[in-house]
């Protein structure tokens, strides 16, 4: 039996779809198309003359060592910050789910970080991690020269990873907690009565049941680490020292907006877009197979 709403004439269907199509076209395809066009030309910033250069922009970007360095930095950043944010959130959510005394308090406190805008939290972490003023100043007193994000690229990378993970721990926590709480209590209680400990129950019952959530968060975290890191990098390190934290999204901003190289930035955006699409496909093809949907 046909359950869908059907229309007598296809034109009515089209008519209903038009507003939606216009919106999608205006806000997605038109800008994307514009970016593709720009990436194939040399744009004069003030307009008034564009030269068709074909794939030259892509060629010069891919021949640039700084660009490859920025891809590497983005990968390192995405991998470590996603890992940190997810593991910490998972542990915290598992603990909160156990109904310890005062767990309602953790729930409230842990959700807050996600509500803080990236630039504000970056400003806060800039103070916290400043080698001469903040918390790390104490460490530096004990062990001089231990922490120097101003000149040490690894320290600078660590500081933006910490700031980004801190924000996404809050986000991931909400989802993990919801997933844990959706697991029927009776399952856990039955396992407990059979004599299995906390760790065993976690690995054998809870973990498999929340894999859909883990997978969802993995995709979101990796995508966001490529795109949402901009505000943090801009305020904490501005891509330095010596390009160590010049992530792809930040390089697009500084080349395009500060450097007024619209074509180069457009070409980089396209590469970034393709990269995110590819990563997402890989995740769905290979990781989703291990996910148990109920």
């Amino acid at each position: 039996m046909e359950k869908r709403v059907t229309f007598g004439r296809w034109t009515i269907g089209i008519l209903f779809a038009v507003p939606q199509l216009i919106l999608i076209f205006t806000f997605f395809y038109w800008p994307a198309g514009q970016a593709v066009y720009w990436s194939l030309t040399l744009q004069q910033p003030w307009g008034g003359g564009n030269i068709w250069v074909g794939l030259d922009n892509f060629r010069s970007i891919l021949a640039n060592a700084d660009y490859w360095n920025s891809i590497t930095a983005s990968m390192i950043f995405a991998g470590i910050s996603t890992g940190l944010a997810m593991v910490i959130a998972l542990v915290l959510a598992a603990l909160t789910d156990r109904q310890l005394a005062g767990s309602w308090l953790y729930r409230v406190v842990l959700i807050w970080p996600y509500g803080i805008a990236a630039p504000a939290l970056a400003l806060a972490f800039r103070f916290i991690l400043a080698p001469e003023a903040g918390f790390m100043a104490v460490v530096n007193k004990v062990w001089p020269g231990f922490w120097d994000p101003g000149l040490d690229g690894a320290d600078a990378m660590a500081s933006i990873i910490i700031a980004f993970s801190w924000k996404y721990v809050g986000y991931n926590f909400i989802f993990f907690l919801a997933a844990f709480q959706a697991i029927p209590r009776s399952l856990i209680e039955a396992a407990a009565m059979d004599g299995s400990g906390v760790i065993r129950r976690f690995w054998d019952i809870q973990f498999p049941l929340i894999t859909p959530t883990i997978f969802f968060l993995l995709v979101i975290n990796i995508t966001e680490s490529f795109q949402d890191s901009f505000g943090i990098v801009d305020i904490m390190t501005a891509g330095g020292p010596a390009n160590a934290t010049n992530l792809m999204v930040y390089k697009i901003y500084s080349d395009g907006f500060k450097g007024l190289d619209y074509s180069g930035a457009a070409a980089q955006s396209i590469i970034l877009m393709l990269l995110i699409i590819a990563l997402t496909i890989v995740q769905f093809r290979f990781i989703e197979r291990r996910v148990h949907y109920r």
Partner: protein, 450 residues
Amino acid sequence: MTIIKRGFAALAAGALSTALAVPAFAEPVKFDFWFGLSGDLARVVDTLCKNFNDSQKDYEVVCTSQGNYDATLQNTIAAFRAGKQPTVVQVYDVGTATMMLSGAYKPADKLMEENGYKIDYSDYFPGIARYYATSKGEMLSFPFNSSTALMYWNKDAFAKIGKSEAPKTWEDVGADLKALKDAGYDCPMAINISANESWQLMEQFSALHNQPIATKNNGYDGLDARLEVNKTKFVQYVTDLKKWYDAGLIKIKSKDLGQDMVQAFATGTCQVILTSVGDHGTVGRTQKEGMNWDVAELPVYAGTERKNSLVGGASLWVLSGKSDAEYKGAAAFLNFIHDPKTALFWSTNTGYIPVTKSGFDFMKSNGFYDKAPYKGREVAIESLTASEPTEITRGVRLGNFTQIRAEFGTQMQAIFANKVSVQEGLDTLVKNGDAILERFQQTYPGKTLP
């Protein structure tokens, strides 16, 4: 359907009647001025605009801060492409080459002439005027907020090592920093090595020593100019800075690390800094109680014939595509800013220097420079007018210079972190900078700088 139609008709009638009702008396012509200063400085600009509006009845300038210089240029470009550009816009020094090739401006000198204002262009300090003029000397934009780099030094600390004067040569600086260190000062001198410090470290140093930054007279003679800072005296300078840094005589201070160099100087943590005269007011307001300090011209290497330093800051551009009435207003506004009395108001409330000789003389005759907190700022004028500008000390006219400055910061950081040698770092700066210049040249095929 009919209800909607009637609604529209009513709306249209209403709009029509208000439109007809308004011009009963002559409204002042409004025009937009976008600028890039924020905070304290933005409030001074707002007062300046108010003063202009109060001074006459024909025009009304609407002044809007865009936050910073980068954003001002970006927003103006976006507005221009959409046909909604302001009449007057403040563009920073390094945007000059981009503006000149944009074809989006009305030359300032032509605007003034068309509207009957006689401006004596020789009244501008030559070092300031030539930065914004064509190679033939036509003023395309008017200097607005101008500054130059100075050396700030702590008199109390220098007294401890038996010095009552600021070091004049880099050789002396090296010896004094060593003496300060030996006298127990942990941070004899502070520098920062981000993109911004390209201005005082690379550009000012090169001008004072009459050393080119790029071929073709720093780009004035063509878009095919290429960098050459890897084979000038600048190499020696970076080598010395690095040597002093390694010896603990120089510390890196920046906001990211907890304290920027102006704060480090004002709190007495560091004894010498190189920064803009624009920070003179900030140091005075935030300094440690009772600290004695002064400013001096930037040092040069022994045996150097000192040349004029470069102007920093921004100028006012008038954009094309506006009505005659708006241009009349813009001309009146530029004329108002050119007035020596405005210069006094502007320099009193900011750290910026007057841009004309008459403005400077007017301020001197008012006793501006005789007493604290403004005493010392005249050194900036001395530095800017130390010599008649040469082909090289006129300024820097390179495309996408913001990106070249970013590259400067990157390579300096690599050098100071011991990732590369001084020569390797500067070679990479030239190589990557040249790629940026080549790209700019390709974007404007067949075009030449005016």
